[in-house]
């Protein structure tokens, strides 16, 4: 298995990325080649510092870096020798099976869509973020790639999310829900009402509409929404979780009795922080592209990078994209059959 890592786009420089790569290489001998895309000198320095000398590592020099400020469509034209471009090139050329980047999400999406194209039958890529809840983990798709969605995009997310939950998270028959303002069939906006009808027709475990209250109540394993709503939901959850930890901290240090209590119970707090840690998955895949593309948090550190590489190799190993293609094709056939049923019954 051959993985390309864009080492340049993170907040902490390429050093931590290479530390993460080192740990991933140590843990996984199925990786046969690991390409590091970025500025050659910086990478060489970081390799030396990390004492990483592994014959599987190859540097792919790129003279430019896409920054968080770069407008994706402009970068696509102007930063052709950027580390993300070079890393994706390797997948396009068949030299790598997957690519990981910590950079600008919009940029990765733009470069990857342009160079790799979407899978047959898929119109738009979507970001699938795994979110921990008390009794399960759910996939939120799309969490920010596709701001203006069409109903058919949501249907495709339903199929892709279902495959991802099953193949990577191990849910045998993932419950797929459409995020809306109520659980009744008729609740929703124009987009979700139309998507609802489509999702009912295909062969997934579609549980219908779900609302915000269902998300952390073990009612759903795959939450489908447009990228505008998904991005807001994801970031709101991150913000509220941090807010609650902050409130808890302030209350716990308010007097010595509480401080002692907090000290005795500290492992409970640690367990929750660990459980809610976005570093567990290290990143979120951009599903629906003709190649495995993983976006890591800009602030990702070693463990996060290592985990992102692990999830990526699992995606390659479990042939996520082949399964998506098969199931998307089946869904499209179902939709076409229903449509022709409707037409023929109208003609009858």
């Amino acid at each position: 298995m051959r993985i390309a890592v864009d080492v340049m786009g993170g907040d902490h420089g390429c050093g931590v990325v290479i530390e993460g790569v080192k740990r991933a290489l140590e843990a996984d001998d199925k990786i046969t080649a690991l390409y590091l895309s970025g500025k050659q000198e910086e990478i060489q320095d970081a390799l030396q510092k990390a004492q990483l000398s592994d014959s599987r590592v190859q540097i792919v020099h790129a003279s430019e870096v896409m920054t968080m400020e770069d407008k994706p469509t402009v970068a696509l034209r102007k930063k052709k020798d950027s580390s993300i471009a070079r890393a994706i090139d390797l997948v396009e050329q068949g030299k790598a099976d997957a690519v990981i980047s910590l950079g600008n999400t919009g940029g990765i999406l733009t470069f990857a869509t342009f160079k790799l194209r979407t899978l047959p039958g898929v119109d738009r890529a979507g970001i699938a973020t795994v979110i921990p809840a008390p009794d399960n983990e759910f996939v939120l798709l799309d969490s920010g790639a596709n701001i203006e969605c069409k109903p058919l995009h949501l249907l495709q997310y339903a199929v892709m999310g279902s495959v991802y939950s099953r193949e990577i998270l191990g849910y045998k028959k993932p419950r797929v829900g459409l995020l809306s303002v109520g659980t009744e069939d008729g609740k929703g906006n124009e987009l979700t009402l139309e998507a609802f009808k489509l999702c009912k027709q295909i062969d997934i475990n579609f549980v219908g509409n779900v609302e915000g209250h269902d998300l952390f109540a073990n009612h759903v394993d795959v939450v489908i929404c447009d990228g505008f709503v998904g991005n807001i939901v994801l970031k709101t959850c991150e913000s509220l979780a941090m807010g609650m930890f902050e409130m808890l901290k302030r209350e716990l240090i308010r007097n010595p009795k509480r401080q002692l209590g907090a000290y005795l119970a500290q492992n409970a707090f640690r367990a929750i922080k660990r459980r809610m840690d976005p570093e567990i998955y290290g990143g979120a895949p951009l599903l629906g592209l003709n190649g495995i593309v993983m976006k890591s948090h800009g602030s990702a550190k070693e463990r996060s990078i290592m985990n992102a590489i692990r999830i990526t190799t699992e995606s390659v190993h479990n042939q996520i994209n082949q399964t998506i293609c098969t199931e998307i094709q089946r869904a499209n056939e179902r939709l076409a059959a229903t449509k022709s049923d409707v037409i023929s019954s109208a003609q009858a």
Copy 2:
């Protein structure tokens, strides 16, 4: 001040509502009349049980109740003698200054919009929910009334939310933000991009786009969005908060050491629960209607009802609706002036 309370729509029957009313009457002598709308017999029983005999209380009999299952538009035609209809009638007829109900949100909205109409210059009512964050409280508007919004509706929410935050929550110059997928000016969907341009033109403290991360980070006091997004955000926050308390509880009882710690620190947990308790405000106003309308949680109990009445009387006392009218008019004048500026400069 005269308040109408629809006592029928709650989950716990009319008894708890009347207990709440009793406490509110004891606490507030500015209330001169309190109408209880609902089934006369049930109300009389509950009054007796609560030992409430106050000359300000008047029963307004209504033979029907709108349930959570009732379709609002159908109820509007079929349940003309429902407790919510009768309560709103009192406001329409000028006998009450405000109305409070625990019932079906869509139903309250439909009846209130039909009977009271919106304020001059306001196209759609919106639900303003107050959400506690570590360092402030923000108003989320619209949190579920108006599923398909137009840009001008969001502008009107910006004005109304700003008034509410200032007059009821006491923020002198509330920071109003438009909920989007990034803080940069160009981020958003068709609706928010257009609303952004409008909000820039009027005289509020508009801080531009905010994203999910800003919500609990004291960056914004009034969060503007359409009712689809707002309802999902509100319910997701409630679900995540409950999920985190659940995870915490499970971790804290895992062994005796943690249990002791939890026991010593219990007041810290209580303080947070209190801080995040939706009962503090007891309800959310439907802003933009020609009358003060407060929606309480279906599960509201005494304290919550008492608080809802308190907020309602404050809204009446602070002349929220008069202020909204003035500021909406000023905003419309600004928009009209900008438009004519654009036209005259185009003609120049």
